[in-house]
Amino acid sequence: MNKFFKAANILHYFSFALLIAFLSVFLLLPIYLVISEGLHWDLISEIFRNPVTREGLLNSLKIALLTTFLTILIAFPFALLFNKYDFKGKKAVSFFMLLPMILPPFVGALGIQQFLGYYGVVNTLLRSFGIAPVAFFDGENKLLAVAIIEALHLYPILYLNLVASLNSIDPSMEEASHLLGAGKLQTFFKVTLPLVKNGLFAGCSIILIWSFTELGTPLMFGFTRTTPVQIFNGMNEIESNPLPYALVAVMLFFSTILYLMAKKMLRTANAVTGKGSRQSGAYCLRGFTSWLPFTAFALLAIISLLPHIMLLCCAFSQEYYQTLLPKVFTLIHFEEALSNPMVIPSIINSLRYALLATFIAVILGLTGALIQHKWRLKGGLLADILCMLPLSVPGIVIAFGYIGMSAKIDWARDFFNPNGNPLLLLGVAYAIRRIPYVIRSASSGLQQTPDDLEFAARNLGASEKGAFFRITFPIIGAHLLIGGLFAFSFSMLEVSDSLILAQKSAFYPITKALFELSQFLGNGPAVACAFGVWTMLFLGATLFLASTFAGKKSTDVFKF
């Protein structure tokens, strides 16, 4: 090995060491702290003995399962429709399907309360027909409402995974089944479904963990009997009551179980996924029928955007009470939102946090991908596992771990203290949760870039660094940009970390400011709605950019 290669190798291992060190401090240590503080038999048994915490855990599990079931019900038929047919407006529906993600579900909850609330649109309609109003958000209905709101927000993740899996099935696999006597249903269950298991499990596991640990939506519905809300509420007495640590540990345990189960299923599924050689097996619809799928997609978009539409109505209405539409339209809430001391700073704060998080996530994600797929260092798999770990670790666990570190570890007290300016703290917290998206995106780019391209450049006199920056980097640049854009969008929408780690109003990010505004009596919710509209437009534009750049690559971001 010549000197140059030795030096390059040292640099690679140094980057590897830095990555591991970073993830150890900001990911593994908070997890360790939560486990070490919470994993005591008396605390754990207290959770299962205490009917309140037991019910919270059960409700969270119910929400997760119901949300996942609902997303399958929504995403599967539409993914099949997209894959099996060529229809008018097919390109546009890719953007439609990302639209529900432009707002965190907890903000959508504000809108849906207007729609399904006791004096909301639906009950007004029922009353006008002489039917008694329905309390959609009472008792068990509250759980259903949370699950529906989350499903309407999360189905794009499963949809993208399923479309990617369906696209990777060679149409001749299904044709062979037909020719051997299997009908459409038999072919679906015996050939298509087993071949899309990969995408199904990948999407479902993300949604399962996401909805299991979701804090914002149940909080907004006042659904306190869920574990994340119980953890959030228990934070104030953390010094005296260690039960929240145990709750977090239990939540982490369940998430890990869900993650490992999905991983195990994925290993089987990974082994069976074929690579299509004849891609287009889509049936071309003509005439009137060619508009039917588009109509179905548009209807789904309208239904899933109902919370957003209601949010718009609330934001523009002077009075919206027991009527189908607002009685008087106004811009006053937008003015009030602008003049509110929390709003403008929160936008600036969110931009700063999200930009820092994106920068960190891109650097770490790219390093992780390079270690695994380009430098192929010994132990590269460890880097990949660590970078993907945040998918199974709820944001609330990491945020809670940081709080714990500021309270329990002397050297970490200042950095992890949420009472100061949380720029670095939130930047890191957001970034940690977004690394999986970036590393998947970057890895996919690197895997599609043969080594020979760089070798050819080296062969023509380029240095190793030169070949990387002139050849590989521009090729994987699009993938990085997509990963970065998604990381940025989701950082702007981050709820758990924001609600827990931003303690002073001057440093609130958008989501925390929205939550606080919605809790104000009087016009608080309306101002929050107006603010939500701005956020929606801003994030809609970002996601539009991401999906435009990404095209088919957007599915790489959500790979498990």
């Binding site: 001749s172 044709e175 089944s177 037909h178 020719l179 051997l180 006597g181 009908g183 082994a271």
Partner: protein, 356 residues
Amino acid sequence: MITPLLSLRQIAKSYEKGKMILRPFDLDINENEIFFLLGPSGCGKSTLLRIIAGLLNEDSGDCILKGKKINNLAPEKRRMSMVFQNYALWPHLNVYENIAFGMKMAKIPKKEIENEVSQLLKLVQLEGFEKRLTTELSGGQQQRVALARALAVKPDLLLLDEPLSNLDSKLRDTMRLEIRRILKARQVSAIYVTHDRTEALSIADRIGIMQDGRIVQCGTPQELYYRPLSAFTAEFLGAINFFDARIIKKENDHYVVQNENFIWQAAVNPDLNFEENEEVTIGVREEHISFDPGENTNTISAVLAEKTFMGDHTEYLFKANGLKIGVRSAENFAGELNSTAILNIDKSNTMVLKKK
């Protein structure tokens, strides 16, 4: 008169308006026949195969199987099975399950399925591979599983879509013989699509040459090779020299043809008729040119321009007054470059074709 197994009547197909992939033509396939659709890429042969299988709808024309029109019959009801170019083996099922799939669909008793799979595995020489995942098999083994799977349902007609194109050349040579052996052992009627003439000539009972969406000539490999009806067919089936010439006269078993370089005698093809003074194309296969003088041969004097040793034969390029003449021979021409040779062609191997 024997009813053909499959009759295609005026089948036509276009993907875009005005761009015909298949132009109307008729074709009959007989029982127990291995029929090849041979043609260059894009000539419509795979489209035709998919229409026969029911995977594509024809725009017009009829597809008749055993005397019954099957145009509107779903693929699963046509009693045809297919070996796909990429095999389309299901990666989530093992070898046994792949082969047994069609029989399970037909609700055949388990015991019978086991026997049939076992026989098929023996036939394709894959005994003991039942439990393997198809992803663990080599290309040749996958190809055999695909064939066994298609044969398992005892189809009325087996369709093969370039099944050897993903194999390396050595394996292709072996599998060519294997496929013919297996198909004949099971007495299967088959339509086989390929652009590889060696495959077609070595396996087929009959070949249909396709050009621009229609079949331009049908016949046994020998008929097509020795008596092509067009320069296209002649050229597609093997290396050949073409010369422009004019018919001087027709005698009992031969034509006399002439151009500025030669006056030759050429064989009469009963399917083609030419008039005196008609401009024609003369075709001479490269391996039919010899350096040894013989009886009743046409000759031409030419200068050696290139010589390429190919192992089992040598390829020569000669030039004669602006004509280029390719020769492929196992004999060694002792002369150096630019030396003159007399090239000899048996008149029975001198073909008269319509002018290109």
